[in-house]
């Protein structure tokens, strides 16, 4: 039986998502043995990638030691959740150290209305009465809904953000506060859930005390966000290893401005003469962070070079600043290809067991972009065997064969696919494979034999008499 518990503060009637709150039977005890003493949430809405920093102070009330803490997400959040990271903190203030914790998606039977769970495994289990502090970072994408849906060139972009004032949690929360940081001071409206107040670019919800598990109080924040909503609908990165000393990377982007759609005319004269007042939500610059020692960089699309790019290199990193062919307004799309070469010795290593491995960065080199679908292809040299990919998170993997310059048996391609990729996914991954260097000589040998045969054929043709008449 669902039991509605009316909060003692004001809640607008127009709530879209009003979850019933459950008081659950005691079948699954471990969730209830824990309680959250203090929860602090900081939601960063300054870009279209929403970062939520959650600090939880957990106490074990039960008798048995608890080693797992569950995090709950509403279905809408879970759908747009790009990454969840957790860390245990120890020490105070300046000597604070973070130890990353293992986070796994989990199924709990008692979640109401399709609530999704993640389980954080603690380093040491909590005994009765002990407390632990967890830092959780999770990132949401596509969670800002433009409203109005279509804007003209001179308007700025307003978006809705929906969340709950109260932390959705399977545990009893004693005290909690939520801070929402907006990009500018312009906030059209926000749901007031007392005590809630706004100061500058910050909205503060709370502190709320003694919330039972699965409390939910939807809030809607309507605010201005003119940050570029750069979304790569599909990114295909092809990393081709040549044992002759080069790693060639080709990245095919399909970029879209996912903010409020552009409506009506686009006037170049306004865009050029009053850059501050028109097209504020549009963007024309993109920045790609590439590895150092990058060479032969190109930037083009299907109809040729795009002549607006700038490469800065130093010994630590390379930055490619470039512009799409035209400024991107809401709903406008663009496709392009970036390619570059890298020195092999920086990325290819030999493991102790004699296998080789490529150590490369996953994710998208563009800053501040969401990738809806990332396809990463590692093209191993012809003749490589037993490829395995080692990657710190869940991705779809399969193998393909690719034929390139003068290949006979084809090159093995390790394909890694992941959806909803954010800059936090830019972590190294490895692809291990075995390779016999003799294969490097296959193609030069083939060529020399072909040329040799050609000469032999020519010589024999010149010396043979093929005429019928003698």
């Amino acid at each position: 039986m669902p039991m509605e518990e009316q909060p003692h503060f004001r809640v607008p009637l127009s709530l879209l998502l009003f979850l019933s709150l459950f008081l659950l039977p005691t079948s699954f005890s471990s969730t209830h043995d824990l309680q959250i003493l203090n929860a602090e949430r900081r939601i960063d809405l300054t870009s279209h990638i929403i970062k939520v920093y959650l600090t939880l102070k957990v106490e074990n009330l039960g008798t048995s030691p608890a080693s797992e803490v569950h995090l709950a997400f509403s279905p809408a959040e879970a759908e747009h959740l790009a990454i969840v990271k957790a860390a245990a903190t120890s020490g105070k203030r300046k000597k604070k150290t973070y130890i990353p914790l293992d986070v796994k998606s989990a199924e709990l039977p008692d979640g109401p209305n399709g609530t999704k769970f993640f389980t954080v495994t603690l380093l040491t289990s909590l005994n009765k009465g002990e407390t632990a502090t967890l830092e959780v970072l999770y990132i949401l994408t596509h969670s800002l809904e433009p409203f109005p849906v279509e804007i003209t060139q001179s308007e700025s972009q307003l978006v809705y953000f929906r969340d709950s004032a109260i932390l959705l949690s399977p545990y009893h929360v004693k005290e909690q506060t939520t801070f929402i940081k907006t990009p500018s001071t312009r906030v059209e409206s926000f749901t007031v859930v007392d005590p809630a107040k706004r100061a500058g670019t910050e909205l503060k919800y709370g502190p709320y005390e003694d919330q039972p598990p699965y409390s939910y109080s939807p809030v809607l924040v309507h605010f201005e966000n003119n940050n570029p909503f750069a979304v790569v609908e599909e990114l295909e990165r092809e990393i081709e290893i040549s044992h002759w000393g080069n790693v060639q990377v080709t990245e095919r982007y399909r970029l879209v401005h996912a903010g409020a759609r552009h409506k009506g005319a686009f006037s170049r004269v306004e865009y050029q003469t009053r850059p501050d007042a028109t097209g504020v939500s549009s963007f024309k610059h993109l920045l790609a962070k590439l590895p150092p020692k990058v060479h032969s960089v190109y930037y083009r699309d299907e109809i040729g070079n795009v002549s607006t790019s700038n490469l800065r290199t130093d010994y630590r990193k390379s930055e490619l600043e470039f512009q799409p062919r035209y400024p991107l307004f809401g709903g406008w799309k663009s496709t392009f290809v970036i390619g570059y070469g890298l020195p092999l010795q920086d990325f290819l290593f030999e493991s102790p067991d004699g296998r080789r491995y490529l150590n490369f960065t996953f994710g998208c080199p563009l800053t501040q972009t969401v990738v809806d679908k990332l396809i990463l292809k590692v093209v191993l040299p012809e003749g490589s065997k037993d490829p395995t990919a080692v990657i710190p998170f869940q991705v779809d993997q399969h193998l393909e064969i690719k034929y390139s310059y003068l290949d006979v048996i084809g090159r093995t391609v390790v394909v890694l696919e992941k959806s909803n990729v954010v800059p936090e996914h830019n972590v190294p991954f490895q692809v291990y494979y075995t390779f016999n260097p003799i294969f490097m000589l296959a193609e030069p040998l083939m060529l020399s034999i072909a040329i040799f045969l050609f000469f032999v054929a020519s010589v024999s043709y010149l010396h043979a008499d093929l005429s019928i008449r003698k």
């Binding site: 009506g264 005319a265 686009f266 006037s267 170049r268 004269v269 050029q272 003469t273 699309d301 109809i303 040729g304 070079n305 795009v306 002549s307 607006t308 062919r325 035209y326 709903g331 406008w332 799309k333 663009s334 496709t335 034929y403 390139s404 310059y405 003068l406 290949d407 006979v408 010149l462 008499d465 093929l466 005429s467 008449r469």
Partner: protein, 776 residues
């Protein structure tokens, strides 16, 4: 002669070295031809150029994606909306098939070059082939030296470079090779009388027919040469073998090409070949009969045949004339007619006249395009006459005809270029031959060491000359022998009678004069090389879709066309129709992948006139025309902001003319003030209210406050106006391309109210605005 053994070995080695050297030189010429055309890639980028190449590129993409059978049946609904175009049946497929074959070949070797790369480099590759073909052709005419010189000249002749730089993916790129190679095979057949070469010749002709409409040049030039040979008493069985199979096989093969089809036997351009075909048979018959009859009998037969033959001929001529006269254009297509009568096109067909490359060339363009070759050609012609052979007669005829044609149309300068190179090659090689020989005979040190050591060193010029002469004459047949033995004596024994037999006259010039002449010639050639490299690098490499300009603060790139096309391709619906002047049709379909109303194919004059009329009509009428054509976007090219001269305002009078040619309510004088085309305050109201003016200059005044047009170098006439039926949806960074969207039709009653209101308001606002709102 005395020491025939020792020189024999010497000669062999020298020949071997000579052929290896010739081979190496040819290889280098090929490399030169290829690499001189890469300036466009190095200075700009590897991209398809200009207008027509984009169409060819798109067709090639289709071919590589869908295969040959779909290609033949391809109905393109992206162009000439709502008519469409049957591409497979209306395109010369040679270029596309060549690049497609190249692409398939590379991919069968797993070399993953893109279609674009293959297309970009097709032209330079075929330029190398063309220079080798020139070598072969000139060698047949005047020997190896002339061949090599001609090949080197052709490898870098600016006229040909202009059509075959990397990225210039047009029919001419492969057609010039096919043209020269067909001529080579014809001359080869003529020199050898081999049916093998005759067959190859037909195949090569077939390739030419596939590649370019200019094949009619071949099928008229060769009959003319045959006729000339017959008239000058040079008929031989070799001539028959060279010609008869070409007409029969060539015509059959040509008819296989869908775009030619029955035209190969039905249009007047081909009639000359059939006529000569009949004549050569009559002549062959006469020669045959002459051979078997006694002279007396022959005279009787001749009288008989001539009287009957005249009657038959008269009848046939009458029939042919009747046939030709019954067709409306007298069996000649417009382009061919404008060849014969240079004023034809500008008089009757504005759409042909409006293309700049169909205009007659100016004198500077000759200097630009063939440079010093223009002065060497006469010398080459003279060289061809001493001695005159069938082959050199052909060269003379070729140059004469191509000079005439190039005078009619700039485009045909391209046909002139190989002829000019061949004749200049001959001239240069002969001149060098004479001068170096003169120097050689007069250098005592050289002559001492050379092959006449057995002789007493009396060093009398005449004697020396004689020995060398005999030596040389010994050489030549030997050379021919070795070559023939290489070819396994496939060639019949019959040789061109005049080729190497006639002894050259003794021609020794004074030593100093020779030296100076050689130096001058080298300087001349050096000047040619410098000019060619300059032309290749500076004049002919710009891809025209991306423009650059140098100024104090560095290089400026104007990439507006692609910006607009990319915008169209990504941000409009895939089935939207885009209207623009026909120049941009091919590019829009290829780069933006949107349906266009008219394109560079210009096969339907009425359709183009409709677009021209819309552009020259006032806004409302234009909207109605475009709306009836289902157009969603209108694209105009405007150069007024950055000073890009070939924009739509400058082409506008052609739109008026072509539009007015079909729709008489568009009258050219309405757009001209006292016969002058102007857009400033003196312009006519019709001009200032037409759609093209409005779309080009919409809100232009807000850029600098004065609306100064940098192309026309004047302030525009009407600065403040509003658009009621169109809406600006995109303008590129430098304003070079502006795209407007047709506003949706309004509710009728409201529309009426609005219209009357907007009419009054627009007249008042234009005044008010002028005083009130000046942003600067």
């Amino acid at each position: 002669m005395a020491a025939s053994d020792a020189p024999n070995g010497d000669v062999l080695i020298r020949n071997a070295f000579g052929s290896v050297l010739a081979f190496l030189i040819l290889l280098l010429i090929g490399v030169l031809a290829f690499s001189i055309r890469l300036f466009s890639v190095i200075k700009y980028e590897s991209v398809i150029h200009e207008f027509d190449p984009y169409f060819n590129y798109r067709v090639t993409q289709f071919l590589t994606k869908n295969g040959i059978y779909d290609f033949w049946n391809w109905f393109d609904d992206r162009t000439w909306y709502p008519l469409g175009r049957v591409i497979g049946g209306t395109v010369y497929p040679g270029l596309t098939l060549t690049a497609g074959t190249l692409y398939w070949f590379l991919h069968s070797l797993n070399i993953p070059l893109s279609v674009e790369t293959v297309c970009v480099f097709t032209a330079p590759i075929f330029s190398a082939f063309a220079s080798w073909a020139t070598y072969l052709l000139t060698k047949e005419i005047k020997g190896v030296g002339a061949g090599l010189t001609a090949a080197a000249l052709l490898a870098m002749v600016p006229s040909y470079i202009s059509r075959s730089v990397a990225g210039s993916y047009d029919n001419e790129a492969v057609a010039i090779f096919a043209l020269i190679f067909t001529f080579y095979l014809y001359i080869k057949t003529l020199n050898t009388g081999s049916l093998f070469y005759a067959t190859l010749n037909s195949l090569s002709y077939f390739y030419m027919v596939c590649s370019w409409g200019g094949y009619t040049f071949i099928i008229n030039l060769i009959p003319m040469h045959v006729l000339l040979c017959i008239v000058t008493g040079r008929y031989s069985s070799r001539l028959y073998i060279a010609y008869a199979p070409l007409v029969i096989l060539g015509t059959l093969l040509a008819a296989l090409v869908p775009v030619v089809g029955f035209n190969a036997v039905m249009t007047s351009e081909h009639f000359a070949s059939f006529l000569v075909f009949i004549i050569i048979h009559v002549v062959a018959l006469v020669y045959y009969i002459k051979g078997i009859l006694s002279p007396k009998m022959f005279k009787v037969a001749l009288a008989l045949v001539v009287s009957i033959g005249l009657a038959v001929c008269c009848a046939m001529v009458a029939v042919i004339i009747a046939l030709v006269a019954s067709s409306p254009t007298k069996g000649w297509s417009g382009r061919s007619l404008s060849l014969l009568d240079p004023t034809y096109a500008s008089k009757y067909i504005p759409i042909i006249a409006s293309v700049s490359e169909h205009q007659p060339p100016t004198w500077p363009s000759y200097f630009m395009d063939i440079n010093v070759l223009a002065f060497l050609i006469p010398a080459g012609i003279i060289a061809c006459f001493s001695p005159l052979s069938d082959a050199s007669l052909f060269a003379v005829l070729y140059i004469v005809l191509s000079v005439y044609f190039s005078g009619v149309m700039v485009r045909l300068m391209l046909v002139l270029a190989p002829a000019a190179c061949i004749l200049s090659g001959i001239a240069l090689s002969q001149a060098f031959d004479v001068f170096t020989r003169s120097i050689k005979f007069q250098l005592p040190s050289l002559s001492d060491h050379s092959h006449i050591d057995a002789r007493d060193a009396s060093s009398e010029n005449v004697v020396l000359d004689d020995t060398i002469k005999t030596d040389k004459n010994e050489d030549t047949p030997k050379e021919r022998m070795t070559k023939r033995s290489k070819k396994k004596e496939k060639e019949p024994v019959e040789k061109p009678p005049t080729k190497f037999q006639i002894k050259k006259r003794l021609s020794v010039l004074p030593f100093e004069a020779s030296i100076i002449a050689v130096i001058l010639l080298v300087l001349l050639v050096a000047f040619y090389v410098v000019h060619c490299v300059w032309a290749a690098a500076e004049a002919y490499s710009a891809p025209s879709i991306v423009l650059t300009s140098h100024s104090n603060d560095g290089l400026h790139v104007f990439d507006d066309f692609r910006e607009a096309y990319a915008w169209l391709s990504h941000n409009t619906d895939v089935d939207d129709k885009v209207a623009s002047w026909w120049d941009y049709g091919y590019q829009t379909t290829a780069m933006a992948n949107r349906t266009v109303i008219v394109d560079n194919n210009t096969w339907n004059n009425t359709h183009i006139a409709t677009v021209g009329t819309a552009m020259s009509s006032p806004e409302k009428a234009a909207w109605e025309i475009f709306h009836s054509l289902d157009v969603k976007y209108v694209l105009v090219v405007f150069g007024g902001l950055v000073g890009y001269p070939s924009d739509d305002i400058n082409k506008f009078l052609w739109m008026v003319r072509i539009g007015g040619g079909v729709f008489p309510h568009i009258k050219e004088p309405d757009y001209l003030r006292d016969g002058q085309y102007r857009i400033d305050s003196m312009a006519t109201p019709t001009m200032l209210n037409c759609l093209m003016y409005k779309l080009s200059y919409y809100r232009f005044v807000e850029t600098d406050g004065k609306a100064f047009d940098r192309v026309r170098r004047t302030e525009i006439g009407k600065k403040y106006f509003k658009l009621t039926h169109f809406e600006e949806v995109f303008t590129t960074h430098h304003w070079m391309v502006r795209i407007y969207k047709l506003k949706p039709p309004k509710n009728r009653i409201r529309g009426k109210n609005k219209k009357s209101k907007s009419k009054t308001s627009s007249t008042t606002t234009s005044k008010r605005k002028g005083t009130r709102r000046n942003p600067f």
